[in-house]
Amino acid sequence: MPSTFETVAGIISETCDIPRENITPDSHAINDLGIDSLDFLDVAFAIDKAFGIKMPLEQWTQDVNEGRVSSDQYFVLKDLCANIDNLVAAKVV
């Protein structure tokens, strides 16, 4: 079974036409990979479907816009994957 990162990297590569080898756990989806907000909706859709979750993008965006957290916490892929794992775990419980 692929890791969360492998699944997410595959989704980003396919959805945004980014070479898979350019996507690392330390990549920032926006700043490094250049994914814009519209493309990120496609990524979010594919992630939601793949993991059976509903990523709280509105809350995350609000957190970043209001300066409560750095965008790294949600958009650096290793951190994004940790958030996805938490959402999956919360779903199981």
């Binding site: 909706l41 496609d42 979010a44 859709f45 509903k54 990523m55 709280p56 993008l57 509105e58």
Partner: protein
């Protein structure tokens, strides 16, 4: 349809927010200034207005799912296929099915038929945001009543 006012949906015939489906009825007007340019002597419903009809039908579904607490704005159209010409006076049935109710976005797949004939289909993405003001919210509720959206899906 009142093309000049972008009122594409005449009536919501079926609406099932829990099941994620909607069906709307739309009749192309016999006359409209739109047909003076599209095209002179050969009036056709513009393809972009077919897409708008699908987007609005899916939009009513998203509004009902969210009980009109948030507003869907068209963000993306994928795989749009305009299969046949549509002429003045034609009756259209527009359907949409919710693919995903995400956080801040929603996706539907929608199609138009005229009788048994497929007319168009597309996958549509909306950004879903709080209503920007009370005027728009009130107007959407008023329009919803006019096109027979059941009152029970307008709040709660």
């Amino acid at each position: 349809m009142r093309l000049e006012y972008f009122q594409m949906v005449d009536r919501i015939a079926e609406l099932d927010p829990a099941g994620g489906t909607v069906r709307a009825e739309c009749r192309v007007p016999e006359a409209s200034p739109v047909f003076e340019g599209h095209f002179p002597g050969y009036p056709l419903l513009p393809g972009v207005l077919m897409i708008e009809a699908m987007a609005q039908t899916g939009g009513w579904l998203v509004l009902a799912v969210l009980r009109f607490r948030r507003m869907p704005f068209l963000a993306q159209v994928k795989e749009a296929k305009l299969r046949t010409f549509v002429t003045p006076g034609q009756a259209l049935q527009v359907e949409a099915r919710l693919l995903h109710d995400g956080s801040g976005y929603a996706m539907v797949e929608s199609s138009i038929a005229s009788g048994e004939r497929k007319v168009a289909d597309a996958q549509i993405t909306y950004r879903v945001v709080p209503f920007p003001n009370d005027t728009l919210h009130a107007q959407m509720l008023e329009t919803a009543r006019r096109i027979a959206v059941p009152e029970c899906f307008m709040n709660g």
